[in-house]
Subunit: 495 residues, 2 copies
């Protein structure tokens, strides 16, 4: 057997192994989805065990030395194969550096921390989770220590936003803050909005009907997905042919369901748009948290909160909901874009949302640097909110206990993607409209083919073939830049 045949076999065998691992991961994803949608309470205990088994098997199979050998022997022949090897090599090396024993310790600790948090948050009881969070910080540092880094947060960021570092993000976020804080001040002082028009009674069936109509229009493929109810909306994927979204509904509020659905659909359009040839490999994923979030935000905010969009859809909305009969479009637009300095990230508007993220990013960076002790976190949190948003929370429930992230994994790496996504959404959207000016005209008549087409061509179809920075460069001809986002915000909120 010639060396070339051996190498080809290595690549084929590698693909088979990866497909098997992918099957296990996708099965786990379905178990998660079912847990969040339909599973009866009695199934919870066994489900936790089943998920742990599937994750463990997938992990064991991936970090096996055989994968390393196959990676070494495989000789990629085209660009896709090269990308597959490179991406798999990256993930394999990363995974191989983390001892199985550590993974188990972290998983056990995370389970008990999460459980404690579900009780501590409603009880506003930071003291009860403090020792657990201290251990989480230790484990996060230990995890970072398996890698070379400039800043201990860097390896944790790299898991979700490959290539990004504290050294790059800090000045970017500082520049964003410098612009955001005065902008928020200005907008909140002068805006004249009536958010009450979004309150009232909005029957669930009608909300679902309207949302489904819009999702169909933006291009969500129902033949390769579905929408179910859950407590916390999310997008999940079991194959490129089965990309589902979930949502929740409040009948007293119009915003929650619609923008939640559009947000998750942004994620789903990305996944549904990945080229089928990558199915079963690591390339059949989004490129990073930030790139993924750029798509949910683009569709939710740039499209879904724009005047152009509603100039078409508002009449249909009014027809379905008599609540809006006497509400002018301008009032409605003001309400869905209302800016408010508030305490809770998940309730925050487009503009202040980033300040919530920046606060968390900086606090976790300082904790990992050893400059902020867990016991001082509640105070540091209050101070950061006072300084950045001018609001003050009496409770930790509405302070540093509000997010699950630090209590459901490590401290570090989970927040920066939200704001990177916001920044990128503007850069992509600006580029698309520049190249395809018809996007605006189409949006005004409820069509989105050109926009989705551009995004598919430049971003979606490539999956995780490129690193995030390469993808941004390919799509826009430039590295990530803040200016389009600032321009978008200034235009939208000051004119």
């Amino acid at each position: 057997m010639g060396a070339k045949l051996l190498a080809m076999n290595a690549l084929e065998t590698l693909k088979e192994r990866l497909a098997e691992i992918n099957d296990l991961q996708n099965a786990a994803a379905l178990l998660h989805w079912d847990q969040a949608t339909y599973m009866p309470a009695g199934g919870a205990e066994a489900r936790g065990r089943q998920l742990a088994t599937l994750s463990r098997l997938a992990h064991e199979k991936f970090v096996a030395p055989e994968i390393g050998e196959l990676l070494q022997n495989a000789q990629p022949e085209d660009e896709d194969e090269k990308a597959l090897i490179a991406q798999t090599q990256r993930e394999w090396e990363r995974a191989a550096k983390i001892p199985v024993e550590f993974e188990a310790r972290l998983a056990t600790h995370t389970a008990s921390t999460y459980e404690a948090w579900t009780r501590a948050r409603p009880a506003d009881d930071f003291a009860s989770v403090r020792p657990l969070l201290e251990k989480t910080l230790d484990l996060s540092c230990e995890l970072a220590g398996f890698f070379k880094y400039q800043h201990p947060l860097d390896p944790l960021i790299d898991f979700s936003d490959p290539g990004s570092t504290v050294a790059q993000i800090r000045p970017l976020f500082a520049e964003l803050r410098k612009n955001l804080v005065p902008l928020v001040e200005e907008v909140t002082e002068f805006q004249e909005t009536d958010v009450n028009v979004l309150r009232g009674h909005f029957p669930e069936a009608k909300q679902a009907k309207f949302s489904r109509r819009v999702l169909t229009a933006v291009g969500y493929d129902w033949n390769r997905g579905r929408l179910d109810k859950t407590h916390h909306p999310f997008m999940t994927k079991f194959s490129l042919g089965d990309v589902r979204i979930t949502n929740r509904c409040s009948e007293n509020d119009f915003q929650d369901y619609f923008f939640g659905a559009l947000h998750e659909t942004g994620h789903a359009l990305y996944e549904q748009g990945i080229d089928a040839k990558y199915e079963g490999t690591l390339l059949a994923n989004g490129a990073s948290s930030g790139i993924h979030e750029s798509q949910s935000r683009l569709w939710e905010n740039m499209v879904g909160r724009s005047r152009t969009f509603w100039s078409f859809w508002y009449p249909q909305l009014v027809e379905l909901f008599p609540n809006f009969t006497h509400v002018p479009l301008d009032t409605f637009l003001g309400a869905i874009n209302h800016v408010e300095k508030s305490l809770i990230r998940t309730d925050a508007d487009e503009l202040t949302y980033n300040l919530h993220v920046l606060i968390r990013f900086e606090l976790e960076a300082q904790m990992l640097e050893g400059k902020l002790a867990v016991q001082d976190l509640p105070e540091a949190w209050r101070e950061a909110y006072r300084e950045n948003l001018g609001v003050f929370s009496e409770t930790d429930a509405n302070g540093c206990l509000q997010d699950v992230h630090w209590f459901g994994g490590t401290i570090g790496g989970a927040f920066q993607g939200y704001t990177l996504g916001n920044i990128l959404s503007a850069q992509f959207f600006a580029q698309a409209r520049e190249e395809k000016p018809e996007i605006d005209y189409e949006m005004a008549v409820g069509e989105f083919d050109t926009l989705r087409g551009w995004l598919t061509e430049k971003i979606y179809q490539h999956g995780a073939k490129w690193l995030p920075n390469e993808l941004v460069e390919h799509a826009t001809g430039r590295a990530l830049e803040l200016e389009p986002y600032l321009r978008y915000l200034r235009e939208k909120y000051t004119t």
Copy 2:
């Protein structure tokens, strides 16, 4: 380390291995359930692959030599542990005898045969599946050949009804046929029923409401289960805390939904009743196809088609469905117990159903004996229907192509359980009523605790701890016997 400690460790390790395999099987069960309920069409291709991967991994892990060693070294200390070892040993030896290579060949062949059948049945095209079915027969003989047997059907029966053999079933079924054929003649000649009262418009929401009310009353635990829609009703389990049923609905027919739901609930009550201590092992299953079917039939037929049952529920039914306002209870009871000599097994009534099964059992026995060639099957089928039921089908679609069983696995082993279940359902029901005469009074007021309690105590809680014949002996003090079933049928249909 002492020998006893080693042995204990072997048992613990064995339980861990079995739990892992169980997790994979339960994950596969959820993937199946999702495929049959909510999966969008686009997910089909990948889902097939994912199911194959999970099954293969579970199988590989089970037939691993390590399991054999653990079984050998484990020293069970109590009755449960002994049963666990014995049952696992049995399944392991059986699985180990089947070469992995054969499993793969059979799976590949089955996939293409099933696919061909889905096209052949509507097209009434037996010729197109004949060569495939011939290969299925060869593979079925090959499979049987991995085991010692008196009759080649025996090992195939043993997969689903351990301990049963052709030598035992043939005379039993012959005796049943001898009684059934004249009984069917007599009943169909003299019955005066109006099945049209079951036709009309029955809104799905109301059908679901009524069925759920009854399922709750018989004791289905919604906290450990749920009911979803599908094309072909089934019961499935992801853990003892998550036992689901599925159902379909025709708004033009009252029987389908209600009796389908009650049938699957019978299966589910069995699984929900298994002692939690068996979770994660092979004992957390029903004892056999026949025992399982005895429970679906007991609840569907003995309970759900009885006068006592409807004396309580009929007024509620009438209240929900004005369709029945002018239909006397007797007419309704006649309609739901209407006997008809027909061509299709799945539409058959309680009485003739067994004749459909007996026909299939005898035909597959003869095929495996080499006495009936696949090419002669359509004619043999027609002849058997003429002889047993006095009906004649022009088409094979309504003849030997009507059931999926032979086209979705092997020929042999899938049918006998239905009739064994019918026979056993009467034996169990008679025993329960003899020991607990209050069962009838309770049923007449819509209560089922004593009946379900007796079944749980005698059957459900023990899972697969005993072989079917042991279980029947434990529950009724006697081996399987036909007489209670014949008595039940005679009483019901001739008085």
